[in-house]
């Protein structure tokens, strides 16, 4: 039909119809284009109230008093709650460390911390009533960086810590510290012909998912509550919510409603407990929807970081050693900080072979906004720094930056700094080769027959240049990300699969608690069921807590884990179908006992292709229904002193080439093309895989040139909590993203697949930075790059 499409290429092994390997369309696609898909902010209940959260206007203070009288007296207000109204002894929650107060108690530790809740019959009434709550704050000194956090007389962000990290940190304002020592960096450094060091700064990035935090809590007759919410992990929420409400978990029934993106920002609780508290207090359904301003305070962000690196190499381009120190700002509460530290440390040198390393990563407690999970999770910050270092070393050696990377690229059989053997394909050099060999976009790509198309130039529609003073640069980067939960975590997922005959046709029903946040897991589950069970009709039930945990939609793990769980349960269901068939028809045909059996096209067939029976005839009125858990290979904790341990399940790799054009006079950058090559092991749904890669790439682009939450270093107040001042890439800022997908199977993973979602977010940022450095000759040790960094003014 002659429609231009972004070039994408996929070297694919095999695909089955509607099954795995095919780009089947999303089952929720039609609902999403008609506006009928119910997101958590769309929920409505007769008689429902609106909840609103009053948040602190200062970053660190003791609360001298809270007066709710006037707010409570406001017509239309049904409840006002503070810490004193919490119903049980459990008043804190947290992913790993329960350090976050449900409502502030005597103290606030960051700007925007929840202090009180209001329920009213109109959202504006709730907002206005909240404004009448009088909170008297007595300011405390703010901790904003490593120096202020670890000073001997520093105020402690958390008094009396009892968590399991306090024993191995040098100061109570350090959440967790992970060193990794391997080989002898001092001795190896003596062999180096060049040594390059640098200090890097990574700004605070926001997930900026478009669907605001929201949900609806409905009180139930049994004293429990039904909660409809957008989240990444229903069962983790449940584990944190129920004790605060004083309810057994079975009385807190959670259902996933439509999720408008997540990217890590929904791994922690937002309105869940608050909505339930208000619903239980008022006896009415309560809906809470954050607006964008509040959303910036309502979830954790990507850790900003300072990173120090030293790389050494011999004249022939072999890395001798790496020393690095990564300091992550975890903000006021722990959230996922300990795991982010583990990732940053263990992936700190990138996808390269280095035998002698001296690594340290740590996260601070400060009064800055809390930071936690975001796509790339600790590996993103490190990748930005080590890739800048790789370019610097290559330049010092007079080598081509891609060739230098390829010389040092890890491969299957490489040993990580943690001592873990990489035991599946690691095509790092090949990914670089692929992005490099792609033809470059034409020079002066903005020129048309009618003159310059300003939309294709730095400054775009603001029409600041017609091509004068515009310089091109090209940069490369590659990264490594772990897939799945690491460091000995018991990571599992559950799938329930039912097979029965409906209207003469075999139908499979798949039930999991997997949070579909946009990634397309629901599409893939149906594909897996079709492939494994030989049916065309698959029903995917809504995710809820009536089935076992699916784990989080994070760490690029859901296709591996819940996809793996669906596959695993389907296989068990299939065996049951075979058993039934053998009992019914085994005597008629010896192949039932002797042949390898398959389910295909609604039939039981032998591996030789002979049809033995219709599935419908095998099942008749029987229903096969199983719920099973699936686990990946166990991992180990990292040794607290040496960082040694088989901490990770799987690694994934992506490489980027960025082509930029820079208006050096005004400091404006236009990214012209951002090509990516990634190994995905097996693309279960190629269309979704490419979509993930392009989306991840764009988030990496954002933090390269525009995205940063700016926190005042003196007050720790957030300066830009809006889409007016926190910019994310628009369609004009985003270039063509050609994608090259490799499928090199990981034999340990279901279908050989490799988690896809995060790797492209890593290398995108340093590739863009490298390209800007090449265009401008500037050092640029911080991201995002702003115009003033390029013009020096």
């Amino acid at each position: 039909m002659g429609i231009t499409r972004t070039p994408t290429s996929l070297t694919q092994s095999e695909a089955t119809r509607g099954g795995i390997g095919e780009s089947t369309l999303r089952p929720d696609g039609t609902l999403k284009v008609t506006g009928e898909f119910a997101y958590s902010s769309d929920l409505w209940h007769e008689d429902m109230l609106w909840g609103y959260t009053l948040r602190s206007t200062v970053a660190h203070a003791t609360i001298a008093s809270i007066d709710t009288g006037e707010a409570l007296a406001t017509p239309g207000v049904y409840a006002v709650l503070t810490y004193d109204d919490l119903p049980t002894e459990v008043k804190h929650y947290g992913l790993e460390i329960r350090d976050t107060p449900v409502l502030a108690h005597g103290k606030v530790r960051h700007h925007g911390e929840p202090v009180a809740l209001v329920a009213a019959d109109h959202p504006e009434t709730a907002r206005r009533a909240a404004a009448k709550i009088r909170v008297v704050y007595e300011p405390l000194p703010v901790i904003t960086d490593e120096a202020s956090a670890t000073a001997p007389d520093a105020v402690l962000v958390h008094d009396g810590r009892e968590d399991h990290h306090i024993g191995h940190v040098a100061h109570p304002n350090i959440v967790h510290r992970q060193p990794i020592l391997r080989g002898d960096a001092d001795r190896a450094a003596a062999r180096a012909d060049v040594v390059v060091s640098g200090e890097y700064v990574f700004g605070m990035q926001d997930q900026a998912f478009l669907g605001p935090e929201s949900g609806l809590a409905v009180p139930a007759e049994d004293g429990g509550v039904d909660l409809y919410v957008a989240t990444q992990w229903l069962h983790s929420d449940l584990r944190q919510i129920a004790p605060v409400l004083g309810l057994p978990e079975r009385k807190v029934r959670m259902t996933l409603s439509g999720v408008g993106g997540a990217f890590g920002g929904r791994e922690d609780l937002s309105m869940q407990i608050h909505g339930c508290l208000l619903a239980l207090r008022t006896g009415k359904p309560v809906k809470i929807v954050y607006n964008r301003f509040e959303s910036f305070f309502g979830h954790v962000h990507r850790h900003p970081a300072r990173l120090w690196y030293e790389h050494g190499a011999t004249r022939d381009g072999k890395l001798t050693h790496v020393r690095c120190r990564i300091v992550l700002d975890g903000g006021a509460y722990a959230s996922a900080s300990p795991a982010v530290v583990g990732n940053a440390a263990s992936l700190s040198i990138g996808p390269y072979v280095v035998d002698d390393v001296d690594i340290e990563a740590l996260a601070l407690y400060t009064n800055n906004p809390p930071c936690g999970a975001m796509r790339g999770f600790g590996a993103v910050q490190a990748c930005f720094a080590y890739e800048a270092q790789m370019d610097k070393v290559a330049a010092r050696l007079g080598m081509d930056p891609v060739e230098f990377r390829q010389i040092n690229a890890m491969e299957q059989g490489t040993v990580m700094p943690t001592g873990q053997l990489v035991d599946s394909p690691a095509p790092v050099a090949e990914l670089l080769r692929r992005v490099k060999s792609r033809p470059l976009p034409p020079e002066r790509q903005w020129e048309t027959t009618e003159g310059a198309d300003v939309r294709a130039l730095p400054g775009g529609l603001s029409n600041t240049t017609h091509g004068e003073g515009v310089v091109r640069g090209v940069g490369y980067a590659v990264g490594i990300k772990n897939v799945g939960f690491s460091e000995g975590f018991d990571d599992y997922s559950t799938a329930r699969v039912r097979m029965q005959v409906i209207n003469g046709e075999p139908v499979a029903t798949v039930h999991t608690a997997m949070a579909e946040v946009g990634q397309g897991g629901v599409t893939v589950h149906a594909q897996i069921a079709r492939s494994e069970l030989g049916v065309t009709q698959v029903t995917i039930l809504p995710a809820d807590t009536r089935v076992g945990s699916a784990g989080s939609t994070s760490a690029s793990r859901q296709t591996y884990m819940t996809g793996g769980a669906v596959k695993n349960t389907c296989e068990a269901v299939r065996e049951k179908v075979f058993d039934l068939g053998r009992r019914k028809f085994g005597t008629y045909h010896p192949a039932w006992a002797t042949a390898e059996l398959l389910l295909e096209g609604g039939r039981v067939v032998t591996d030789g292709g002979e049809a033995l029976a219709e599935i419908a005839d095998v099942l008749e009125d029987e229903v096969v229904d199983l719920e099973l858990e699936f686990r990946h290979r166990p991992t180990q904790a990292f040794d607290l002193r040496t960082g040694q341990g088989n901490g990770h399940v799987q690694y994934s790799f992506a490489a980027h080439r960025a082509v930029v054009e820079v208006d050096t006079e005004l400091g404006l950058v236009k990214v012209v093309e951002l090509a990516c090559a990634q190994d995905v092991g097996k693309a279960l749904n190629p269309l979704s895989v490419v979509g993930q890669i392009q989306g991840g790439t764009t988030q990496g682009l954002g933090v390269a040139v525009m995205e940063e939450i700016v926190v005042d270093p003196k007050t720790a107040l957030v300066r830009n909590p809006s889409f007016t001042d926190y910019l994310i890439p628009t369609i004009l800022d985003t270039p063509t993203i050609p994608v090259d997908v490799l499928e090199l199977a990981d034999e340990h993973a279901p279908y050989g697949l490799r988690g896809v979602g995060e790797a492209p977010t890593l290398s995108s940022t340093p590739a863009v930075l490298a390209a800007i450095r090449q265009a401008t000759g500037l050092e640029l040790n911080r991201t995002p790059v702003r115009p003033e960094h390029l013009t020096g003014s």
Binding site: M1, G2, I3, T4, R5, T6, S23, L25, R26, G29, T30, K32, V33, T34, G35, E36, F37, A38, Y39, S41, D42, W44, E124, Q207, A208, F209, L210, G211, P212, G260, G261, F263, V289, N291, R292, F293, A456, L461, G518, Q519, G520, L687, S688, V690, G691, Q694, G695, T697, T698, Q699, S722, F723, T724, I728, T730, I731, L732, T734, T736, I737
Partner: protein, 158 residues
């Protein structure tokens, strides 16, 4: 106050509207049309895009009262009477332009308007027309694909 206007061809009325209420709020919370989204309520994201007398606007920035006696078209009005998807809706599904889908309603309304007055837009035209609509999931590539696909399909049909 009472506000009445036409939504997707049907006269609608909302009572007890508070004067500060946006058109977006009235559509979503009073008229049962939550298809238009509320990603920022600051006029920055385009997820609330509707057409007011044919012109795309951010309905979060329009006071409900301003819509009095006017024609409002939302994402809910794109599909045909029998529920069949419009070309731009079908193209978004087919091209993989929908991930979380929160940006989708606004993009569809904006893209539909673009194709109405420019049936074969260049990539530059598409980017310009959709530059007020943020998407955080897709990297926009497949959204471009979808608009190109809809344009090509419609062009063929004529």
């Amino acid at each position: 106050m009472r506000v009445s206007f036409t939504v997707n061809g049907r006269p609608q009325e909302a009572d007890d509207v508070w004067e500060g209420e946006s058109l977006l709020y009235v559509l979503r919370e009073r008229l049962g049309l939550p298809g238009s989204k509320n990603a920022c309520e600051q006029g920055e994201c385009g997820s609330c895009t509707v057409r007011l007398d044919g012109v795309p606007v951010c309905s979060c920035l329009v006071a409900a009262g301003q819509a009095q006696d006017r024609r409002v078209d939302t994402v809910e009005g794109l599909a045909g009477e029998g529920g069949e998807l419009s070309p731009i809706q079908q193209a978004f599904v087919d091209a993989g332009a929908v991930q979380c889908g929160f940006c989708t309603p606004g993009l569809l309304v904006a893209a539909d308007e673009l194709l109405e007055h420019n049936p074969s837009p260049s990539d530059g035209d598409i980017r310009e027309a959709l530059s007020g609509n943020l998407c955080r999931c897709t990297g926009y590539e497949k959204i471009l694909d979808a608009v190109r696909l809809a344009a090509a399909r419609t062009g063929q049909a004529v």
